[in-house]
Amino acid sequence: MSTIAQPDAERALDSGAAEAGTPPRNPPSAPRTPAAPAPEERRTLSQWRDSDVFALVGSVLGAGGLTWLLFTQLAPFSGAVGWVVVWYLCFLGLYALVVSFDEEGQAVRDRIAAAVIHSLAAVLLIALGFVIVYVLGRGLSAMVHLNFYTHDLSVTGPLQPLSSGGVLHGVAGTLIEITIALVITVPAGLICAVFLNEFPGRFARFVRTLVEAMTALPSVVAGLFIYSTYVLLLGFPRSGLAAALALGVMMLPIIVRAADVVIRLVPGSLTEASLALGASRWRTVWTVTLPTARSGLATAVILGTARGIGETSPVLLTAGFGANLNVDPRHGPMVSLPLLAFELRKSPEAPMISRAFGAAAVLLILVVLLFVTARTIGGRGPGVLTPRQQQRRARQSLQDAERFAAVARQRMVALDDAYADTGDVRSDTHSHTHGEDASANHRDGAGHVDGGNDGDSGDDDR
């Protein structure tokens, strides 16, 4: 580093590699004088130089001015979207120009690419964030009323204010339907995923391919299937159970696929170790594979739930629409939150639209809660532990070590006693097998170990 002292070399390096940080103003001299090490100046490792910041800010401001000139003085442009687009294009042009004053082509391209990528990501995240904030914001007027969570819409007309009626029936319907769907799909899905990994073969491959194909099943077709079989063919009324079945048909392949991926990631060495220790296949799956993949499986199930809870179209075809609270999944229409939002927004009245947004916002909060839960317990690779789990494991293994040590000590004492009692006999019988091994300097230790191995047979002898 001490060769960067010359300013020429410094500039050459700078323009060559855009990533180069600011070289130290006072490069530390080589430690020829170890007696007095001067206090080293802290180097800035930042990849930003002052000129970079100036170029960026200057281009943004310049582009703003240029756009203003275009819109108000020169060209017949108008509109906020157009303003932003023109500003952005001006900015890119100006920025390229400014950077090209002190950098070369490669570096200019690098800066422009960085600017474009940053802005693309910012636009997406802001837009998606805005969707959520918008829906939450418009739902807020309904959500501040407590009755929104404790009443249904059975006695509330479209013109009545938000202080009357609520979406309790939607919340109840959503929870009941998703619970039934989970009760059906989770056991079947998880066992099927275990099957795909534990019994590989032609049959498993076929099942996997079919499941993969069914993940492409559009959710509305799942709804149509249940509608025409359960409702039309078998003659049951549209109900919560039908909606749950439709959700189940839709979620089953999703859960099988996600769980299959998670279980496949369990290290083979773990299961092989378990099998080598003599565990049966079933014990291996139950005590090694599934616990190792637990967090991933939970994530798979929860994300499948979040997907199912937000689906509108299967429920639209199968659940029917009603305004009453209905907790019996077998009879009567049972709405869910997304369906409620979908239906209520058709009303031209403002309170109903607020309720639609409120229902969507409650649904959104439900999904976010599920998602956060999934992230908290999952999101780790199989077998990767949280710090707390690691501490618990360490404590357990320490306890085990102490237990083993205690047992070994006891056994040693017992053996010493036995050795004292029948010492001559044992030494005679064992001398011709172990005699050469037990060399003089660790005869005692070797004797103990051998005695430990043969302890049981020694007892039998007595």
Binding site: V81, A213, A216, S219, V221, V285, E311, R345
Partner: protein, 336 residues
């Protein structure tokens, strides 16, 4: 261990067959596991078969004209998926072509530019976006986007009308009495909302692959004097090419099957409409959602035929996507 006798070296070793005699619990386990595999297989097969069987009467009655007819009037026997499938494909294609730019930019930002501290947060955020219910996007599209993007649509239909896709016939931008409502329920509007839904999905697949680009090759590029963009162009993008294609197609598959947002925004019309800014379009899934109730047995069969064709389309897209991802260099461990 095998009892290999040292004295008889010439006798060929007998191949041992490690015959494990399963304990009863294992036998039950194997039975249950295979049974559940069979159960899932049967459920999936029933859905697929039922879909096909139900579609047969309509397909048989319509014949090959099913693919070319644009109207949808099953009761009078004139129905086909030409317009419906066209609408589905054009909404999906538009949506994914908007989405892919943003998905790529976001994936690159998160894997290459984002500060290490914030990376996990951004990853969670994008994944969360993928889990946001479609009805939420639909409400936003109906109540916000239709009001505010109509100006953009107006601008495009005025100044980009020379591109055939963006022209709106019968519309004179200089007509002071002309209303903008015609532009609100277009395929373009639906595509914008669907694009917002599928961007996180595509982005997630791409980021997964980008972040796995080998560190050695990255450092090699830097050591040869590459800028960061140079490194991305020569290492990260080639490494993740399969995931870019695969993620895009996965998003396309989702966009094709999207029901509720499309049904909320478009105003249905059964004609092949190349002018994406013009009001009126239709997609298979929104057709089913709109028409299932009024359907008699034969109309239902027609809907099943439409659903079957959509299913086949998305299945082909998904399989293509997953095979591209699996064959790419980055796809060995990807779960796409």
């Amino acid at each position: 261990m095998a009892s290999v006798r040292d004295d008889t070296q010439d006798s060929p070793e007998v191949r041992r067959r490690p015959a494990a005699t399963p304990v009863p619990a294992d036998r039950v386990f194997g039975f249950v596991a295979r049974g559940s595999g069979l159960l899932v297989l049967v459920i999936m097969a029933i859905v697929g078969l039922f879909l096909t069987i139900q579609a047969i009467p309509a397909l048989r009655s319509a014949g090959p004209k099913f693919l070319t007819t644009t109207e949808w009037e099953p009761s009078s026997g004139r129905f086909g998926i030409a317009a419906v499938l066209f609408g589905t494909v054009i909404i999906g294609t538009l949506a994914i072509s908007i989405a892919v730019t943003f998905a790529l930019g976001t994936a690159l930002y998160i894997s290459e530019y984002a500060p290490a501290r914030l990376k996990r947060t951004f990853v969670s955020l994008v994944d969360l976006m993928a889990a946001v219910p479609s009805v939420v996007y639909g409400l936003w599209g109906v109540f916000f986007l239709q009001e505010h993007a109509v100006g953009l649509a107006n601008w495009m239909s005025t100044y980009l009308a020379w591109i055939p896709l963006f022209g709106v016939p019968g519309r004179d931008p200089r007509d002071p009495l002309g209303s903008l409502t015609d532009l609100k329920s277009s395929a373009f509007m639906a595509a914008v909302v669907v694009a917002m839904m599928v961007t996180p999905i595509a982005s997630s697949v791409m980021r997964e692959a980008f972040s796995q680009a080998p560190a050695g090759e990255r450092e090699g590029a830097y050591a040869l004097g590459a800028t960061r963009w140079g490194m991305i162009r020569t290492v990260v993008l080639p490494y993740g090419r399969g995931a870019i294609i695969g993620g895009t197609m996965l998003g396309l598959g989702r966009a094709l099957g999207e029901t509720i947002t499309v049904a909320m925004i478009i105003s249905p019309s059964f004609e092949i409409n190349w002018h994406v800014l013009q009001k009126g379009s239709i997609s298979v899934s929104s057709l089913i959602a709109l028409r299932y109730g009024e359907a008699g047995a034969f109309s239902l069969s027609a809907l099943f035929a439409a659903g079957l064709s959509l299913f086949l389309l998305t299945m082909a897209v998904n399989f293509l996507a997953s095979s591209i991802v699996a064959r790419s260099r980055s796809g060995a461990g990807a779960e796409a």
